[in-house]
């Protein structure tokens, strides 16, 4: 059984920052893999009903993860994450962006800066995600883009994955 874990969200509007903190019931090395290996990222990164599909992954400092999110209607949003710093099993930082199918960054959407920190917790691993936006308006814009349909189905997702096993 997977216990429902509580996620802590903190919105720091003044600093245009949002933090998401959550515990996972697995050792740090496994959680790190799930966040940094493309074949694992593809299985969870896109909020349902979107699906992430990796085009290329170069997980190293200065490297890029290039992928698209596919919607139930077949529409695709291409995205990239450009990694800045990587400390294996501890943390990574990077910039994300929406882009075209060739990886060219769409400047209509502001990029978000990510910092993800992994640490050992009592029952597994604590993951702290810190997302910094360039403006408050961007925060709103990015969330509104495309994911709305996913929200209703969010909770059906886990059951479905478990049923497959």
């Amino acid at each position: 059984m997977i216990a429902t874990k509580e996620t802590i969200y903190t919105k720091d509007a003044a600093n245009k920052k949002i933090s998401v903190v959550r515990d996972f019931d697995a050792p740090v090395e496994q959680v790190w893999r799930a966040w940094t290996e493309s074949q694992l990222l593809d299985q969870w990164w896109a909020p349902k009903p979107w699906k992430a599909n990796t085009q290329s992954m170069d997980f190293q400092e200065g490297g890029t993860w290039f992928y698209y999110m596919e919607g139930p209607d077949g529409s695709r949003h291409y995205c990239r994450a450009d990694y800045e710093t990587i400390v294996p099993n501890k943390s990574y930082t990077g910039l994300d962006a929406f882009c075209d199918e060739n990886g060219k960054i769409n400047t209509e959407f502001a990029r978000m800066h990510w910092k993800v920190v992994f640490s050992k917790s009592a029952n597994g691993t604590k993951v702290e995600v810190e997302i910094t936006f360039t403006s408050e308006a961007d925060m709103e814009k990015i969330i509104e883009m495309g994911f709305k349909e996913g929200f209703a189905a969010a909770h059906a997702n886990l059951d479905e994955l478990l049923a497959k096993q």
């Binding site: 996972f24 969870w44 990164w45 709103e140 909770h155 994955l161």
Partner: protein, 106 residues
């Protein structure tokens, strides 16, 4: 210039103004007394909050009263709710992925 609720709440003084008038409608003078900054600075914040539609004003005799537009404030909650739902969806999937890694190993 485009204004939205997030610009409204992005400033600490504006957040303080909102929490004051959430308790009761206030005149510009009454409001300014709560702040160290100049009256002009307070009215500038009020102007932005009005443009974001977070604050409404009502005339009562010769006085103007500012009060909070609760409906618009809810947009902030709604936004965070969407953000939250998006992450819940991801994390539930991640739980399943991690469980799968574990199962394969043992």
């Amino acid at each position: 210039m485009r204004r939205d609720v997030f610009q409204g709440i992005a400033d600490p003084t504006r957040r303080a103004i909102l929490s004051l008038i959430a308790l009761q409608a206030m005149t510009p003078n009454a409001l300014a007394e709560h702040f160290d900054c100049s009256r002009q600075a307070v009215s500038k914040h009020i102007k932005i909050l009005t443009e974001c539609q977070l604050v409404k004003q009502e005339h009562s005799g010769r006085e103007i009263y500012y009060y909070i537009n609760a409906k618009k404030m809810k947009e902030v909650d709604k936004w965070l709710e969407q953000f939250r739902a998006q992450w819940e969806s991801r994390f539930e999937q991640l739980d399943a992925v991690l469980k799968n890694i574990k199962t394969k190993k043992s």
